[in-house]
Each structure stands twice: as C-alpha cells, then as structure tokens.
C-alpha cells in the first residue's frame, strides 16, 4: 500500500495552495514578456502601483542581491532588466491584497520594446553559433575506419517534440516573514536547497536565513526541479518589501506559458551495419533546442549522449550534441532527462535500417543487445546486464512471434484497419551524472515512547518515496510501520539536499536512512548488552533477542532504558554513492551506480481511412531489482509508460512565432482514460541489485522510454497500408502527421 493513499482519497492531503492562509497574506501575479526577443526600452509601473489593492510592484531594480537564477550557468535573470529572450519571461511582479487585484493590475503596466530577430529552430541557432554552452562529443573505437567495412550505411534525420509536464498542481509558493530576517518558504519544489540557495543570493542574505519546507507536490516529473524556484523567489522578495506573507499560485495557462518543458531535439544520424545486421558504427549530431537560457540543458544534453546507443552494443561511436540557444522558454528536466530523445534516434536508425536492409527490426534489435561486460561509449562496462534476458522474456510472455503472424494475417484481410507491433528495449543509467549530487542526508529521531520521526532530502511527489523510506526504516529498526512518521522535507532538518530527481530519490535517501537507523540500532544493542549481559543481541519484531532467544525486553522498554541512560536516540547520516566518477575532459568514466534494463511489446491499431489510432496493449518486462514495493513500482512503470506514449503520439506543443498556442488542456491533450492501453507489467525475477538499498533499483524514469515503442508500432501499422513513401521520423506522430503520410491530397 502507498502510505499516502488514505489522506489522498479523503482529499485531506495538503498542497501549498491548501494551507490555511495566514493573516494579512498578499497575492502575487507575474507580468511577463509578450515578445520573443527584444530590448526593454521603457517599463512604466506607476499606474499599476496605484491600482486598487496593489501593495508593491517588484522589478529587477528591487532585487537587493544578485538578479540571477541560473543553477549551472549564471545566464538567467530572475526579472528581466534590459532585455527579454522569450515570451513568458517574468519582468515584474505585482503584489496585492487579493489575487484578482494582482491580476487586474497587470494590464496597467506599460512597456515599450525594441524588437530583435528571434530564432526558434535549433539548427538555425547552431548555424549562427548560438549555443548555451560548448558542444560535447563522445567517442568509442574508430568510426571513420569502419564505414568501408559496412554492408549498409543508413543516413537519416529524426525530430522529437517537446512535452509539457502537466503536473496537476501548478507551480505554487507561499512565503512567511519570521524573526530576525528569517523567511519561511512553502514551495512546490523538487529541490528545496536550490530554492533556499537561490533566494539567499537574490536577497543577498545567508542561506541560514531562508527555511524551505516541502510537504508534497501534486506531480512534478522534472518540471519542479529547477522551474519551481522563481515563484518562490518572488514570494520571498514580496515578504522582504511588505513584511507580510505572500503567495503565488500560477493558473494553468500562466504555468504552460512561463515554465520550461521537455527539450525538442533534431538529429542527423549515420548507422553502419554488417551484412548480418550487426551494428558496426554510429555517428550522430544532436541539436538540442535549449531555449533562451541554460537551466539544466547542459546536464540533459550530457544524458542524451550517455544513452545514444540505448540497449545495444556499438563498438564504434562518435556522437556530438549541441545545446542551441533559441527564443523559447528555457527547456528543462522531464522524466528521462534527455535520454528518451537519444534513444528515440537510435530506434529511428534501426527502423530505417530494417526498411533498407529487409532484416526485421526485431532481429536487428536482438542481434545487437548489450551483454555482460560490453562497453558504453563513455567507457563504463555493463554489470549484471539484463538486456537480453528482458528482451527474450517479453518476446516469450507476449507471444510476440504468434502476434506478429496474427497481425500480418489481419492486415491482409482488412483494407483500411491495420494493426502494428513493436519491441522497445531500454537501458537507463541510475545516478546524477554530476557526481557530487549523488549524496543524501537523513535525520532520524526515536522519541522516548518508541515512535520514530524521519526527515530526509527526498521530496514526495506521488512516486511513493516516503512509503519506501518508511519501509526501509521499519526493516532496519525491526519495528512496525505504524511507529514511523515521515516528516516534510525541510532545509533546517536536512541541509544541502540534492534535488529529488534522476530516479534516485529512494536510492540515495533510503540508504541515508538505513545508515542513520543502523547507528541507532548499534547504540541500542549496547544498551541491551549492558542490561542483559553476554550473548549476541539482535532486535527483531520489536523485541530484543539474546543469542537468538527472545528476551522480555520490548522495543518500548529498550528505548526508555536508553533514554534514561542518556544515550543519543537521534542520528544523522549522509550517503554518498561510492565508486562513481566522470571525467568531462576525456568524456570517460563510470557515471552510474548501475543500469536498469527492460523491454516492452506494444500493439496498436490504425484506422487508415481516418488517420486515427488506438494503442491497444503493452506488455512490459522490467528490471526493478528487488522491488521495495511492488504496488508503487508497478504504478511507476504504468504511469511512466503512458507519459512516454503521450510524448510520442498526441502531446504536441505548437508555437506561433514563439508564442505557445497549445497553452491549456483544451488544446494540449494528454492521455485520458480512454486512450490508455491494456498494460501488463512483469518484474524480472532474481535481479537483485547489490548497488542500491535493499537490492532495489530506481524506477522513476526508465519506464517512460517504453513509450517510444508506440511510435514504431504505429509506423509498422501505417506501412502495412502503404510503403511506397519515405517515412519521416518526426514525433509526436499525431493524427495529422499520420493521415498526411497515409494519403496524398491529389
């Protein structure tokens, strides 16, 4: 059971906007750029300041510290000062007595721009040398020397679109004034310390003045890793100037206009294969549409490079990636963090290779799967590799060969309804690729009645990390779950937290909790030894055992005893993933603690008359290590899969001269209940993972990439209708793109 479900189902779980509103609270509304690129000639806030209810209008000039929120590269102003680089860029913030008054006053701000030419296409930006940072190249073997040996060389282009996170809870933040310059922030963020650190810089104060508290998020998916920060900073500035609590909750349209999304990519690739379909070489250039500022783009770009070969071994690789600066909202983290974009390209190249060589794509895939000890382009070798195993199990469990025959038969008999099928293997590295981020802290208190309070750096956003942490603590302390409470994530209890991201929340924080609990257990065992005398002490099911025999000392008694002996019943611990490193000069290293493997078979039906489709069924065999909680992990696989399918099919961001026109739920369509296929998830057995807590594996991101299979199943079905036309590898494969492939307007 997910620990959170009872309050969730009763509507009693408190999100930022649900907190009881403090007395005298003010509301903030954000005034943003309406042009994609230009100079601010004149910003006039005088009229807005006089509007009913307005208490303060904040502009760049009001920032006492540094007007800068760039986390990796300092290239993003909190409030635009002289220049704007994208539509939706914050320029001013109105703080008023009510939300309505704050919003009403927005139209009273007068601004004059001098427009500058804007660029939206990453390839155009690259050509002009407009990059967020330098490009990166990964090399393995010698690509140039093998082209001559290739029986076929596949050249192509692949494009994948951006994706809106559409967390149901929009960006929200509430700041309260405390004593002595303290500001307390309740933020819907994945990165409490990042919010704390940025606000301290913006305000020009020490980090210890800023307390950030996070109870839970109403979904995030990466969208609140970096992009939750500005809203919290506006509230903090508001507190500074008014001395009153300030809240901002974006409405849906504002959120979609002003916050970053998954990066669109455009890629050129060359794949070389021998006559049997063994891949000899991959060469590719990835143009990442980074948007106007760096945000997390450089790390995302790096992860794209880590995953260019997906689940395959390729002996010769040369791949370069370019973070291209355009005049769109800075794109940001989203489940998969650049890996899906890289893996999509790999599958495009294989699919095209199948079309050109006549070798079935599933044969090409299987032939090239990673095996134990194979090397990735970044130098690391596979360990406990389950690529072949998960592939063959999904082929077997889904009865792939039989299905394929049935589908071929069906397609012969039906004129305009065609079915399609695909296999999608995945391989995903777990760890932040920025090595120092792989650390987590935990603070465990045992109260003298035996109940336990746990604080960590992990943020609960629906992924069940609190439930997992609770079960790790219960197992380590050998007590009932009911005794344990997981506290909010708070920077005064756990400092310097890494974002809850990179599928590592439970891995890192769970391990820190395990260490802290072990420290307490060790102390308790000493207390028990002192009382009971010789014999090995163990604690099991809330009782003390001596030399394997149950004593009369219970957990509660042991705790009281320890308390009276003045033994420390609190422990703090830090976990730092051992053995990982990455050398960015050489572009080699062992950046990941381990890899996650898996495979999915996707079945679809295409209505070739109307250009519409259904995703019918997905069969997944996933490597979850030894799952910490199967109910939660199955939910992560299913949820990630559907998001991935959405990215590949119906979710389409459309811009009109840099303005997002799919900025609400009526125009940006995410999967609904009727869109969802039948899903069958199986976890690999005997896949214990020694590299993570209790033999488990991170699960947040990898299943997203099973969704890529939907694209190729649809292609498979569409090509059963016609194959005389070149396939354009462009995702999402909307009804529009599909119909325009299937038919020509003569």
């Amino acid at each position: 059971m997910n620990d959170l479900t009872p309050p969730h189902t009763r509507g009693e779980s408190v999100f930022v906007d649900d907190m009881p509103e403090p007395r005298l609270m003010l509301h903030a509304a954000v005034f943003a750029s309406s042009i994609a690129h230009g100079k601010i000639k004149n910003l006039d806030i005088q009229k807005a300041e006089k509007c009913a209810g307005v208490v303060k209008v904040l502009t760049a000039k009001d920032i006492p510290g540094i007007n800068q929120i760039g986390g990796i590269i300092q290239d993003e102003e909190l409030l635009a000062d002289e220049k704007v680089d994208f539509i939706g860029q914050p320029i001013a913030v109105i703080i008023a007595e009510t939300k309505e008054q704050a919003k009403q006053a927005l139209s009273s701000i007068k601004i004059d721009y001098e427009k500058l030419p804007a660029i939206f296409d990453p390839r155009v930006a690259a050509k002009k040398g407009l990059l967020i940072a330098h490009s990166r190249t990964f090399n393995l073997g010698d690509v140039d020397s093998v082209w001559d040996k290739c029986a076929s060389i596949i050249k192509g282009r692949a494009d994948s679109g951006g994706q809106e996170h559409l967390y149901l809870e929009t960006q929200s933040s509430l700041a309260l004034p405390g004593e002595n310059g303290r500001i307390i922030i309740y933020s819907s963020t994945q990165s409490p310390s990042r919010v704390q650190n940025t606000i301290a810089q913006v305000l020009g104060c020490d980090m210890n003045a800023i307390e950030v508290d996070v109870k839970r998020l109403g979904g995030a998916f990466g969208g609140k890793e970096d992009q939750a920060t500005p809203w919290a900073a506006f509230c903090a500035l508001g507190v500074l100037y008014t001395g009153r609590p300030v809240k901002v909750v974006l409405d849906r349209q504002e959120d979609m206009q002003m916050t970053g999304k998954r990066h669109p990519y455009s890629t050129d690739y060359v794949l070389g294969l021998d006559k049997d379909g063994k891949i000899l070489a991959l060469s590719a250039e990835y143009y990442q549409n980074s948007g106007a500022c760096a945000d997390l783009s450089t790390s995302i770009l790096e992860r794209t490079l880590f995953h260019v070969t997906n689940s395959y071994y390729i002996p010769n690789v040369r791949v370069s990636a370019y973070p291209c600066k355009t005049n769109l909202v800075p794109f940001t983290a989203f489940r998969g963090f650049g890996a899906p974009q890289g893996m999509f390209v790999m599958e495009c190249a294989l699919s095209q290779a199948a079309d050109e060589t006549g070798i079935p794509v599933s044969v090409l895939q299987e032939k090239n799967l990673l095996k134990e000890g194979d090397q990735f382009p970044y130098g690391m070798k596979t360990e406990n590799c389950h690529a072949k195993r998960s592939f063959s199990e999904v082929v077997q469990d889904s009865k792939y060969e039989e299905l394929k025959r049935t589908i071929e038969d069906f397609n012969v008999k039906n004129r305009f309804i065609k079915k399609g099928i695909s296999i999608m293997p995945i391989c995903f590295g777990i760890s932040f690729t920025t090595t120092f981020l792989n650390q987590a802290g935990a603070l465990v208190h045992v109260y003298n009645d035996g109940s336990v309070s746990i604080s960590t750096g992990a943020v609960e956003m629906g992924q069940g990390v609190n439930t997992k942490i609770k079960s790790i603590a219960a197992r380590t302390l050998s007590i009932k779950l009911e005794r344990i409470r997981i506290e909010s994530t708070n920077t005064t209890r756990v400092a310097n937290t890494s974002p809850t991201a990179a599928s590592s929340g439970a891995d890192l924080n769970g391990k820190a909790v395990e260490i802290a609990c072990e420290i307490i257990i060790k102390r308790l065992k000493n207390v028990a030894s002192e009382k009971l005398g010789n014999g090995i002490i163990t604690i099991e099911d809330e009782s003390v055992y001596q030399a394997g025999i149950k004593t009369e000392v219970t957990w509660e008694e042991l705790i009281m005893l320890a308390y009276k002996k003045r033994v420390n019943l609190s422990a703090q611990a830090l976990y730092a993933t051992p053995g990982i490193y990455f050398d960015r000069e050489k572009e080699k290293g062992e950046p990941f603690a381990y890899h996650v493997f898996g495979s999915a078979v996707t079945e679809v039906t295409v209505d070739c008359l109307r250009g519409t489709y259904t995703i019918d069924k997905v069969h997944v065999v996933h490597d979850a290590g030894k799952s910490l909680n199967e109910l939660i992990d199955i939910g992560q696989v299913e949820g990630g899969l559907i998001q991935g399918i959405g990215w590949m099919t119906i979710e389409e961001l459309i811009y009109d001269n840099g303005k997002l026109i799919t900025d609400n739920l009526a125009t940006y369509k995410v999967p609904d209940l009727r869109f969802t296929p039948k899903i069958n998830v199986k976890f690999l057995e005997d896949a214990d993972n020694p590299a993570a807590v209790l033999q488990s594996k991170g699960i947040g991101e990898p299943p997203f990439m099973y969704g890529i299979g939907a694209y190729f199943a649809l292609k498979n079905a569409a090509q059963a209708f016609r194959k005389d036309k070149d396939w354009r590898y462009s995702a999402p494969l909307t009804h529009e793109k599909l119909l325009l492939y299937l038919h020509d307007m003569k």
């Binding site: 009763r10 839970r216 956003m461 299913e638 125009t667 119909l739």
Partner: protein
Amino acid sequence: MKFILNQKIIETNEPLGIPTLDFLRKIGIKGVKESCHEGDCGACMVLLGDLKDNTLVYKATTSCLLPLGEIAGKHLVTIEGLNQNGLNPIQQAFVDTGGTQCGFCTPGIIISLTGFFINSNLEKNDILTAIEGNICRCTGYASIIRATQLLSDHISVVKKSNKERIPTLIDADILPAYFSDISEQLKELKKVPKHNKGTYVAGGTDLFVQNKTLVDPVFLSEMDLSGVWSDKTHIYVGAMTDTESIRTSVELNSVLNIEKHLSKVSSLPIRQKATIGGNIVNASPIGDLTIYFLALDAEISLKFEDKNRIIKLKDFFKGYKMLDLKKGEILEWVRIRKEKKLFSFEKVAKRMHGDIASVNSALSLKLDNKIIREPHLSAGGIGPIPMYLEKTSIFLENKEISSDLIKGAAQITDKEISPIDDVRGSALYKRLLLRQLIYAHFIKLFPEFPELEGLL
C-alpha cells in the same frame, strides 16, 4: 441565496456569476482542487443534487464551470461531505490498488465514482464513463481501472431503483447517513429570484471557459426549455436539453443511432451540462451538435415574447459568430423530421475522447435503388461557421452512388470550404481529413458496395 454544502445550509451574498470552485476554496473547502479551470481535468469535481419530480438526482459536475447561481436551492457535495470514519469502499479500493500517486486528482475521481453509484442510468460496464472526464498524470489510469474493477463488487447496490438508491448506498457506506435527510431539507430551501437582464447562460461549458466570472448571468436553466418530445411529423429538442439527455433520448434513438454517435463528444460531466441551444447559439465552427443537426436538415424556433419564427438551422449562421438572432429572441427548440434516414457522424480530434474536433462532419440521405435522395452534408472546422455544404449536397442529389461520384463530391466540398492553419491542424490536413471523412461516411453506410473501397 441558500444551498446545502455537504451537511450544512450555507447562505451567501456572493455574486451569482462567480465560479463555485473559487467560492469553495475561498471558504476553506480544499478537497476541491483547481488545475485547469476550464472543465478539462475533473480535479474540481463536485456532486450537485437537485429535486426533480420529488426525486433527488445527483450529477458529477466540474465546479470551475459552475456559477454560484446554479447551486441555489441545491445540494453541493465535495469530498469532505463523503468522508466518514475510516475509508469508504471507493476510497479503500484506491488504497488497495495504488490508484492514487500524487493525490491531486484523486478527490475528483472519488466524487465522479460516487456519482456513478448514485446515478441510475449507468450500467456496470459504464463505470469508466463516469471518470472519463478526470485527468490523472501520474498513474496512467491502469491502477484506477483496477480500483473500478474492485468496486464492481458493490455494483449490486446500484441496481436498486432510484428511490431505494440513497438508503442502499448509505447501508453500503458509500454515502454518509446525512444524505437521507437532504431531500426534505431541499424542499424548504427557496430558489434564487429570477431576473432577466444580462448575459444568457445555457450550460455554460464554453461561456465560463471564456469568462471566468459573469457580472450579470441570466440562467436559462430556470426557464422551461428542456426535453425531447415529438408530434406526428417532427421530433423536438428543447434548447436547454443537455447533450447526455439528447444522447440517451428514446425518441431520437428511435430514428438515429445517436447514443453511439455522441459517446465521444466531450466527457460525461460536460455532456450532462452542455446544451444543444448553447452549442448552436455559441456558433463555434466546430460544435459537434450543430454539425450533427445541420445534416439532419434541422429547423429551429426563435422565440420573442409570445411569438416565434421557424427557420432552417443552416440559415442561422451568417458569419463568424454572427447569427440571424434578433434582440430579445431566444432559441426555443430544434426539430428534425421524424423519419428514418441513413445517417453518419464522423469526428476526428487530436485525442479521440474529450476533445474538440479537428474536423467533424455529418451526412444524411436516402437511397432509392442506388440513387441518392435528399442528401444533407455538413462539416465543422473548415470555415468560419458550422457549415452546411450546400453545393456538395445539391451535387449528390438524385445521382447514382459510385466511387467516382463520391470523389467528385469531395472535390466540390474542397472548393466550398476555407480552412485555416490553427491549433487543431493545418489547413492542408483539414482539407485532406474532410475528404477522408466524406469517404468514411459512404464506406461505413454502404458496406454492400465493396466498390467504394476504391476511394482509398
């Protein structure tokens, strides 16, 4: 005005045109969540109970599109009003299956499912229909579907007749005991005073997307304008009849397969609210019901005081959002001839359920020994108004059916329409799609002519 919120009578002087969602959150009812504020996500779902012929009827509805004035004299139920000691069976099912992750959408889904149990019209296999208007971004719905499967054990409760329904649901712990007194309490609540100057509100499912708040709403729901009835020659649909009532109308289903045709039109909570009159008068070029009734050669009655005039629906639209509607006139009803014709409705959107069409189209005709008679073709999304394709319809009249004829018709259509590039697709796509939908009408209606497959 007064209404019952969960088990408490509330009296408020707040403006009647503000969204109920905003009002509820302002007074501290936080189980109702705001996410999209336009009826597309279901996070703000509430149950609205009203006495109809002395029977208490509840519907799940999105409180963001529900103006305060519409809840006067009614029973409004939020998740807070369903909570009892411990979890009820619906809540427990979500716990058991992991049907909630971040929890933001969950209260709305619990409300929708409660609506399913209260609502007598739904059959067992329709339990998913009850939650098709709820978006969840975390679970991928699989665990939610499993929760509904667990709940099917409780379905036997639903089979009880309407009058026994609430007591049986109280016995099954799905509803708290206070529901048994609501009926009596509602009888004593006074309805809101009527007024007649201001903006007319029909279902409000588009109006309140465009305007979050209306200063001067006039609720047409208080006029007697809903229902489906017929005389010897025609079937009439009152302007305030909601889409779900139209879809399930016995009268209409006797001549049309409308139940199936409209199943993909929006989601249940919106269908129960959106009216045919609103759809027509809103004059959206893509309104599903308008396109549907255009191809039925419908007529409409426009009423001013005691007089009315009857015109063809196709003559009502004069230009983008311009209508043949005189000041003070109200659309009273829509009527179609009471006869069986071959009829086809096609709709393609970005997402096939709960979405606005990229292009929709409808066709009615009779076939008299391979000769097409009385054809009426309509299409939406391809011009500034919901279009009756006059030239194509005339072209098809009295011709022998063949794939060449249909290809010719599609070419005429292509000259009749003027689609633009927009958020629902490029102009090229819309032209191609409409051609395909015209082909689809014929291929679907005439399986006995395999020759039509030559259209592909």
